[in-house]
Symmetry: C2
């Protein structure tokens, strides 16, 4: 099936971009994981930096912002929408799925599915206040564990200082160690898997691991969400076509375009840590 | 001069409320100081919690939000507008003064005036990235020091973790001590006055004092801004009339009405620490 893009050119369904949004820069960890396993895909990223953070805001307003972000990405004729923000995934996913015809993928189901598969029965979940209070992880874990016939015990903890800590770039110093210790010390030797329920948290992986104990498996949304995205595109025959490397041809590399609703300079500066490489042009769009 | 309020009742100019806005809860420290020295005044407080924090956002968007907040307060027929947010005061004050006919007071000039009066020549300024980058404190200090014929040296430091730390309520523990030490250790024995250039910072006064040294005088915007507000109202004969306590009558106590653009529950919960007393009804207004 072919479509025409905004300039009227015929665009194969498979060559349409993947749209990703987050409240700010955290979703770049998902983009990084996507690029690793789907390097040929074009990605449009939108960071709602005018409203960041979502994690301390209300359900109603997060839903409103999420809808606005999704509408912006739809203008690019995307083939898949990834909600790379836990707070949005927690409260806005059903509405986004109802409103748009393209597949919509959040960061919560992929990570929970993986967790329930590998866990021995004791799961920890850390996230922002909004995500924990929404109860979404707790509900989703119970849903998948019933399906797998597993008994699980769930421990949750809000970690509001982790986001500013990751943005400040204090990833492994004594202060971040102590903050992790204070939030997570009670989980030590209590759990076998820990869900990092916020896209900022993978940056603090080392201090989190130290606080909960070496044997605890940390699961982050970035790689699990990227894998699920690949499955969805494959099922629908929507993976971007690219020449086989075995024929000696150079792979087509998917471009990433970055949009934000405020402070492109700050996004560029902080985003490097999250994407684990430099960020090119960032365009700032006006709020409606 | 008398006016009519929205219900058509005649309202004396002096009995009109003072309007105060901030990006969130920080401005409540200013409200607390106002209530101490002007207990008879009615106050309308607006916290733009849908957009908090301002300190990491761009000048353009802070200006836009500030204008929106001021317009909301103008509906209450206020006699004085206090911009109890450093980021807004840094970038939006001239425009607000131009657009509205009531006097507009920011938190920066009062604190700088006091600082330059008492300092011996070495001033430290701590604030959010937006405020420091705006250069407003540096420019205002130079303006007042020229006027007072004083030579001053200025040291600045951004402290982005102080706001989430204050909101988390970690005001005097080891972690907040170490964060203060890390940000401010270089100022020890280097300055004689330190400006707390963010309305959240007074809550961290103890650990800040410990980091910069006992002899350093800390100046916060709350009490200086409240004093300047009293001067402005007095000059214009706008102080709310109330019976003299010497006659044995009970003083009229000014009410405070609280409005936010999101999460009234969170505002109530966190606001207590900032106002240093319980917060009653908080109304959530819809964003336009």
């Amino acid at each position: 099936m072919d479509l025409r893009d905004r300039a009227g050119t015929r665009v194969s369904m498979r060559d349409r971009p993947i749209g990703v949004f987050d409240s700010g820069i955290g979703g770049l960890t998902v983009v990084g994981a996507l690029q690793k396993i789907l390097p040929q895909e074009e990605i449009i990223y939108f960071g709602d930096t005018a409203h960041v953070p979502y994690g301390t805001k209300s359900r109603e307003i997060i839903r409103k912002f999420s809808l606005h972000n999704a509408r912006f990405l739809m203008k690019f004729n995307i083939k898949l929408l990834i909600v790379a923000c836990n707070s949005s995934s927690a409260v806005a996913l059903p509405e986004l799925k109802r409103r748009f015809s393209v597949p919509v993928l959040g960061v919560i189901e992929p990570i929970v599915e993986k967790t329930v598969q590998i866990c021995k029965g004791r799961i920890g979940v850390i996230a922002t206040p909004a995500t924990i209070e929404s109860g979404i992880y707790q509900r989703t874990i119970r849903k998948f564990s019933r399906r797998e016939n597993k008994n699980v015990e769930i421990f949750t903890q809000e970690c509001p200082l982790f986001v500013p800590l990751a943005e400040e770039g204090w990833l492994e110093n004594k202060i971040s160690e102590q903050i992790a210790q204070r939030y997570l010390g009670f989980l030590k030797n209590k759990i076998d898997v820990l869900i990092l329920g916020c896209t900022h948290y993978p940056l603090l992986r080392k201090v989190i691991k130290k606080a909960v104990g070496k044997r605890v498996v940390l699961i982050d949304s970035a790689s699990e969400t990227a894998k699920r995205a690949r499955e969805i595109l494959k099922e629908r025959n929507l993976l971007a076509a690219y020449p086989s490397p075995r024929r000696g041809e150079v792979n087509k590399k998917g471009k990433i375009r970055f949009y934000v609703s405020d402070s492109p300079q700050r996004f560029k500066k902080l985003g490097k840590n999250f994407l684990q490489k430099g960020i090119g042009r960032v365009e700032c769009i006006k709020l409606e």
